[in-house]
Amino acid sequence: MIQHRRYRRSLSAYVDGELSPSESGQLEVHLAGCGECRVQLERLKGLQGLLRQGLKDPIAEVTPVLWPGVRARIEGGRPIGRFTAWIRQIWEATWEQPRVSLAGAAVISVLLLTTVYLLRETPVATPLGKTIVAELKPGTAEVVVEAVEPELDFGAMVLTTSDEAEGLKVIWVVARGEM
């Protein structure tokens, strides 16, 4: 049954001569034993003839001279894209209606201000000179922040402290907000 359906679907391509020789061969074997597909094949051939005969449309075959219109378009410059046309349409519509343009301007202003407010830089108190409790070997100790690299790309800061016991400078990478 599945094979039958598959062959039936391929009849349309068979009529068009678009099946490969092996596919055509298999279909022809099926057609020899399947009356339903043979009837359908005849119908498809009939439909093809009907369409070709019936759509000899005289209007479609009388071509107007297209070049002057094409030339005018070419001389007029590259056509604008759909998006640009859409923006232009909105622009023209709002320009003609002051109330709409004022409302639009108000909405855009509110959106801009909200965006600026949300994205504004949150001031961070610099921890320079601040005493922090740090885990230094062999335990915790209070150290003073001696230098601060304000911010790394990923929102962290680098602090420098001294470990007097070891005689070392210690560099800390601290995520923003941890201080």
Partner: protein, 181 residues
Amino acid sequence: MEEHQLVERSRAGDVAAFEELVKRHQGRAYAIAYRMLRNREDAQEVAQEAFARAYFRLAEFRGTAQFKTWLYRILVNLATDQLRRRRPEAPGGDAVLQQVSIGENPGENMERHELRQGITKAIDALPPDLKTVVLLREFEGLSYAEIARVIRRPVGTVMSRLFHARRRLQASLGVYWEGES
């Protein structure tokens, strides 16, 4: 002059070469547009727009495809957009303008006219995707591979769309069908 030479010259800005390309392809381009839109003014407009867009996009045209199939792609997209913009109750066709030539054999001519109207109606009732493949296959004689390039879909999709389109046409043209067999 060979077509690829005309394309090259047009690409270099030779408008006369492009005019020659338009003259070579305008007949088929207009016929496709007309069969899709069923309105002479719309068909003329869409065909002219397709040629103009082709001119501006010649840099994108790769010589691997035929100029014809590349042009048809632009044309079919424009015509399909136009069809989709039309409201269903406003088909926009100018079937009213079609005249029946009475001639020497009025009965036969009337029958042919009626048949043509029936077929036109059945094809116009197809969704744009199915209508396009039927027109390209039945009236332009494009191969499945060429249609696939025009509509930018795999050959399997072309096959499937033709199968479904023909099923619908068989159903809607049943009355002529019985008369034929």
